[in-house]
């Protein structure tokens, strides 16, 4: 659910898969809220005390592509290494986002998200900032 009124996420009903509405004042914040929301949907709990850091750069020609590719990278790390992140330092560059991520090994995971889709994905400018609706393949 939403964390603050300025930035947050909420699950939206979808017949077969999962959908998340995310919002934030800027694109870096939107990417962070999307990542937090995806973690929340998966019901992930992290091991306490075994903190790890990871840096990555994701590229795309547009903001929606950055969002999909960034979340896709997090899913890849989750599946291959069993790592998830709860602290995000994101810096936007031209057609790229550089991320410094802090997290820990996953202790429990309730649900599997298999992919991030482009379905109806549009990052829209609202009066309070940016908003997007993301559909995940589960």
């Amino acid at each position: 659910m939403a964390t603050t009124s300025m930035a947050g996420f909420e699950e939206i009903e979808h017949t077969a898969d999962w959908s998340l509405r995310v919002w934030a004042p800027d694109l870096a914040g939107l990417l962070e809220q999307a990542a937090r929301g995806m973690l929340n949907l998966s019901g992930i709990r992290l091991v306490e005390g075994k903190r790890q850091q990871r840096e990555l750069t994701v590229e795309s020609t547009d903001a929606e592509g950055l969002l999909v590719n960034f979340l896709g990278e997090l899913l890849h790390i989750l599946e291959q290494e069993g790592l998830a992140f709860d602290e995000y330092e994101l810096t936007l560059a031209e057609n790229a986002v550089r991320a410094k991520l802090h997290g820990a090994p996953v202790m429990a995971r309730k649900e599997e998200i298999k992919g991030v889709t482009y379905h109806d994905l549009r990052i829209e400018q609202k009066s309070t900032g940016l908003e997007a609706l993301i559909v995940f393949d589960v």
């Binding site: 699950e11 009903e13 979808h14 017949t15 077969a16 898969d17 999962w18 019901g43 020609t61 929606e64 592509g65 999909v68 590719n69 896709g72 890849h76 599946e79 291959q80 995971r109 309730k110 649900e111 599997e112 298999k114 992919g115 991030v116 889709t117 482009y118 379905h119 109806d120 994905l121 559909v135 393949d137 589960v138």
Partner: protein, 483 residues
């Protein structure tokens, strides 16, 4: 949103959205549904997604929608679209992330009565032998060289390794191997995901089920398939696991820029596509076939391990514990086939996403025994409800690009299902019906509760009445294994 008033009734079980409905539609949308089923899908974005699908370049005939249709992403689940080869497009999103997700059915001579007391043991053995659940790896850890062989050879690889019989392969779509797989077009990331997932079920709506043949509707066809009332069958529902998902992800991503280069304008970015004769289209086709072969091998290995479970729990305790293959069929796939369109033979890529190939009698690619009766169409129901065995018809060849329905079709969201159903209560309800359940996750079980799905009997009745498949036998579950 498409309103019901925009949909024209053609018959009791057929409806059409004309191509004049929206300026960017290239062909009409034909929906196979009763009024009741149509009203059930009108509440979500299914019809709008079908209209969006009708904008793909190179479409011929109509976009078709099966009665188990529901909202997906980009292309609706239960959708069929044929694009003319080679100039028409191929769209990864119109095939789905789980490339060659499909169903395998095995028959037996085991009478339910002689096995009833052993079903608990059998369900535990199936759960032990067939790994399921989120991110689970299996006992087959492939080398990169072996993975390349699986990509090229599919279930034929399993035959060489002793995990299959010739009879299994004869009764598998494409005989378990689609030619033209190109491992060179499969990313390193997809390969890494595939190395340890062969022979695993995964999570979500995938399952292994033991059923009993509840009622036979076509004695002749049932006899050819090896189905007899009162006997057990085994059904496996799964696909290409993370391997196929990664391939779809890779190409949906790379096609985002390809569509701009080709000047293709689409209403939804998840529908991105490329002409089949382009370098991009050929690359996806080669990679998709590699994933399809991976899935054929995956279901073959699961069948091998299911046989181990049957032997372990039933050998010496029932007269005949063995399982024989009835058929293995894909319901997420893009296939090059030749169909009649407006009186001419056309080579097309039939995109089926949540729709089953349903070739009728005499169609190419079927084993001799099924050439006479039509190909078995396997339709799993929701957990705890009936599943169906149908057969393809002349009607499916003429009117639906040789396609039919693939299941019950969701009607309730996963989050709502979890709110209204408790996993533990569901296990008790199913046990009261004599169904033994092995579930890796109680919330995951609740998401797949029968209440979240349409009535599979109504779906099957619709395709039977529409003449795009006909009823052979109804199956009733007695054991369910889920991740």
């Amino acid at each position: 949103m498409v309103a019901l008033s925009d949909v024209k009734q053609i018959s009791e079980v057929e409806w059409e959205i004309p191509s004049a409905y929206r300026a960017d539609m290239r062909v009409p949308v034909r929906i196979f549904a009763t009024r009741h089923l149509l009203e059930a899908i009108a509440g979500d974005k299914s019809l709008e997604q079908a209209v969006n699908a009708a904008t793909l370049p190179g479409l011929v005939g109509r976009v078709l929608v099966m009665p188990d249709m529901h909202q997906g992403y980009g292309f609706p689940i239960g959708g069929v679209a044929a694009t003319e080869y080679p100039k028409g497009v191929i769209s990864p999103g119109a095939i789905g992330y789980d490339i060659n997700c499909g169903v395998r059915l095995l028959g037996s001579r085991i009478e339910l009565d002689e096995a009833t007391a052993l079903l608990d043991e059998l369900s535990a053995a199936l759960d032990r032998h067939c790994p399921s659940g989120v991110g689970k790896s299996g006992q087959h850890h492939l080398s990169h060289k072996e993975l390349e062989q699986v990509m090229r050879e599919g279930a034929q690889w399993a035959l060489k390794k002793g995990f299959a019989t010739e009879a299994d392969l004869n009764r598998t779509e494409e005989f378990g191997c689609i030619p033209g797989a190109e491992p060179g077009y499969v990313s390193q990331r997809a390969r890494t995901r595939g190395l340890d997932q062969l022979g695993t079920l995964g999570a979500g709506n995938h399952f292994i089920e033991v059923d009993v043949v509840d009622e036979v509707f076509d004695e002749g066809a049932a006899q050819v398939m090896g189905l007899q009332e009162g006997r057990l069958t085994l059904m496996i529902h799964c696909g290409s696991r993370g391997f196929g998902h990664q391939i779809c992800t890779d190409y949906v991503s790379s096609f985002q820029s390809a569509v701009r280069r080709f000047g293709i304008v689409l209403p939804d970015r998840e529908l991105v596509c490329a002409p089949m004769d382009s370098a991009e289209g050929k690359a996806y086709m080669g990679a998709m076939r590699a994933a399809a072969n991976f899935a054929f091998a995956n279901r073959q290995l699961l069948a091998y391990h299911a046989r181990q479970a049957f032997e372990e729990s039933l050998a010496g305790r029932v007269k005949h514990w063995q399982l024989h293959q009835i058929y293995d069929i894909a319901h997420n796939m893009g296939k090059l086939e030749t169909h009649s369109v407006d009186g001419r033979k056309v080579k097309v890529c039939v995109h089926r996403k949540g729709a089953t190939r349903a070739f009728g009698p005499g169609a190419p690619g079927l084993p001799p025994e099924y050439k006479k009766i039509g190909q078995p169409v396997l339709v799993p129901g929701s957990m705890g409800t009936a599943s169906w065995v149908l057969a393809g018809t002349e009607g499916s060849m003429q009117r639906s690009f040789g396609s039919s329905c693939h299941g019950a079709g969701r009607t309730m969201s996963r989050s709502k299902a979890k709110k209204v159903v408790r996993g533990q209560d569901l296990i008790r309800e199913l046990a009261a019906k004599g169904i033994h359940v092995q579930a890796g996750s109680l919330p995951g079980l609740a998401e797949e509760a029968p209440q979240a799905y349409k009535d599979v009997d109504a779906v099957v009745e619709t395709v039977d009445r529409a003449g795009i498949a006909h009823k052979v036998a109804r199956l009733r579950p007695v054991v369910v294994v889920k991740g």
